[in-house]
């Protein structure tokens, strides 16, 4: 009986430790800023909700696309649900866009022939851009701050300072101010009411 009690307690402890451990190591929620005001590189975002991926291949952009090349966009599930319901993102929302290059193909447009057809297939990861909704901190740019952790292979930069208005915010302000600064038209999940 004593051994069963011990076994039960040990099992319980292991289970609780596993829960604590996994929640600490795998994910951060929301935005974390350093004392200097720089944004820390988000973690765990690849397990957030994926809402869509555009692709602007270098081969169709004179060899050097502004965002090379796939843009995979992630948002936390509760913030996504809130947008579906209210048409705007809650304060504190973080959106992450991870870039990946295409696998090199023989065609001049950069496309590749594969078993499933001619097209573009994700190659190596190539950078991370982030936007954060914080109406106090980023009131000058429609409540969102824009950051880049580099357009290059991993590792990405550990922190990033806010990008200048001309680099990011101005284009969002000019084109998508009415949809909470997000290019909703490229992300069908944001406009179709499905699970």
């Amino acid at each position: 009986m004593k051994s069963r009690w011990n076994w039960a307690c040990a099992l319980s402890t292991v289970a609780m430790l596993a829960v604590t451990g996994s929640s600490q190591s795998s994910e951060t929620r929301g935005a974390t800023f350093t004392k200097a005001g720089e944004l820390m590189l988000p973690k765990g975002y690849r397990k957030w909700m994926f809402i869509g991926a555009s692709i602007t291949p270098n081969g169709l952009n004179s060899g050097s696309a502004p965002f090379p090349e796939f843009h995979s966009v992630y948002v936390e599930l509760d913030n996504f649900r809130s947008y579906q319901k209210n048409g705007k993102f809650p304060e504190g929302t973080v959106m992450v866009k991870e870039l990946s290059l295409v696998q090199p193909g023989k065609h001049p447009d950069g496309s590749l022939d594969s078993a499933s057809g001619r097209g573009y297939f994700p190659g190596s990861l190539n950078g991370l851009d982030v936007m954060v909704k914080d109406s106090a901190r980023f009131s000058k740019t429609n409540n969102w701050g824009f950051f880049t952790f580099g357009h290059h292979a991993q590792p990405y930069n550990a922190t990033a300072k806010e990008s200048s208005t001309t680099e990011c915010a101005s284009c969002h302000i000019a084109n998508v101010a009415k949809t909470d600064m997000v290019w909703v038209r490229y992300y069908p999940l944001l406009s179709v009411q499905i699970d």
Binding site: M1, K2, R4, W5, A8, C9, S12, A15, M16, A18, V19, G21, S22, S23, S26, R46, K47, M49, F50, G52, A53, S54, I55, T56, L60, N61, A65, P66, F67, E69, F70, H71, S72, Y74, L77, S100, Q103, D109, S114, A115, S116, G117, R118, G119, Y120, F121, P122, G123, S124, L125, C171, N175, R185, Y186, Y187, P188, L189, V192, I194, D195
Partner: protein
């Protein structure tokens, strides 16, 4: 009786405590414990007629990659038109990364979307971020399930399509023929558990 009372006094609270711990662990999820993950129920639901039920909730699983085969680069009619967004559950992804094979019961979902309003012959258009391809309307679902008993003839995986067309998709679907799906997977990716890991950074990259 005396023994039963003792059991009630000492053993049951212990088991109850363990149960609470385990329940908490299962509710929150244990991505780093594949042995437990494997014992969890599969998200694949087969109906009495053997058809696979249309998966739900997969859009908030882990996205592992999205190749693009535009109609405009495939004689106007790609086999999989056009973006292929692939989703797998976190516990199965974690197990694959550790062991190189997916747990029994793994369900992988590929959702297709058309490209947004093409203006060039290849299907691309120009947007402020450059010339390229952007997700348009949803256009179909394919799914594959690892069930080594049910699909022993096709390397342990069954392949099912719920239609390549706009929403709504078919509510359930029968296994596709070997020549439609499994044949190509067996010929090309049998060594990577029937999955095109080379096209999905999260499966491919360590």
């Amino acid at each position: 009786m005396g023994r039963a009372r003792l059991r009630g006094k000492y053993v049951y609270p212990g088991i109850a405590l363990a149960a609470i711990g385990l329940a908490a662990a299962l509710v929150i999820g244990l991505p780093d414990r594949p042995a437990l993950a494997q014992s969890q129920q599969s998200s694949a639901v087969f109906l009495p007629d053997g058809k696979l039920k249309l998966p739900t909730g997969f859009r908030n699983w882990v996205f592992v990659g999205g190749p693009l085969t535009p109609n405009g680069l495939n004689g106007g009619k790609a086999n999989f038109p056009e973006f292929h967004n692939v989703y797998v559950e976190a516990r199965n992804l974690d197990a694959y990364k550790k062991t190189g094979s997916f747990p029994e019961g793994t369900l992988i979902v590929k959702e297709l979307t058309l490209v947004l309003k093409p203006t060039f012959p290849d299907g691309s258009r120009t947007e402020p971020s450059g010339r390229g391809f952007f997700n348009g309307a949803f256009n179909g679902i394919d799914a594959t399930v690892k069930d080594t008993k049910r699909f022993a003839k096709t390397n342990g995986w069954g392949f099912v399509t719920f239609g390549h067309h706009a929403l709504p998709y078919a509510a359930s679907a029968a296994e596709s023929s070997v020549s439609e799906c499994a044949g190509c997977h067996m010929a090309n990716v049998a060594k990577t558990d029937m999955t095109w890991v080379q096209f999905y950074p999260l499966l491919r990259d360590k």
